[in-house]
Symmetry: C2
Subunit: 86 residues, 2 copies
C-alpha cells in the first residue's frame, strides 16, 4: 500500500493506460477492421491485464486494481472486435 502523492500518480498513470483502450475499441468496432492488430498482442494483453488485476488485489494496490479492472473490460472489447472482424 502506497500513500498520498504516489498513489495519485499511480491513479493518473492508470487513467492513461486504461482510457487508451477506449479510442482503440471504438475504432475497431466502427471501422470493422483490426487486421493491423496482432493476435499475439491482444491475447497476451487480455491475459496479462487479468493477472495484474489479481496482483493488485493481493498487493492491496488501489491504482493497479482500478486501472486493470477497466482496462480488462476495454481489452475484451478489442478482443471481441478482432474475433469478429479479423
Amino acid at each position: 500500500m502506497v500513500s498520498g502523492m504516489v498513489e495519485v500518480l499511480g491513479l493518473i498513470a492508470g487513467f492513461f493506460t486504461t482510457v487508451a483502450f477506449i479510442p482503440q475499441a471504438l475504432k475497431s468496432w466502427k471501422s470493422k477492421s483490426s487486421k493491423d492488430m496482432s493476435w499475439g498482442w491482444i491475447i497476451l494483453v487480455t491475459i496479462g491485464v487479468f493477472l495484474w488485476l489479481v496482483y493488485g488485489i493481493l498487493a492491496n494496490d488501489v491504482p493497479v486494481i482500478a486501472a486493470n479492472f477497466f482496462t480488462e473490460l476495454f481489452a475484451l472489447s478489442v478482443l471481441f472486435a478482432k474475433l469478429k472482424f479479423g
Copy 2:
C-alpha cells in the same frame, strides 16, 4: 514493497503485458501498416506506461518497474511505426 509469491505473480503479469507488445511491433514494422491502430491508443499508452514507470520507482514496486521499462521501449517502437506508416 510486496514480497514472495505476490511479487512473482506481478512479474508474470508484467511479462505478459510487456511481451504482448513484441508481436505487435514486429507486425507493424513487417506489414508497414498500422492504420487499424488508433492514434489515441498509442499516444495514451506511451504516456501512461511512462507514468507507471515513475510510479513503480516511487512506490518501490519491482514488477511495475521491470514491466513498464520494457513495455515503454516496445510501445515507442509501435508509435514510431505508426508515425512512419500511418
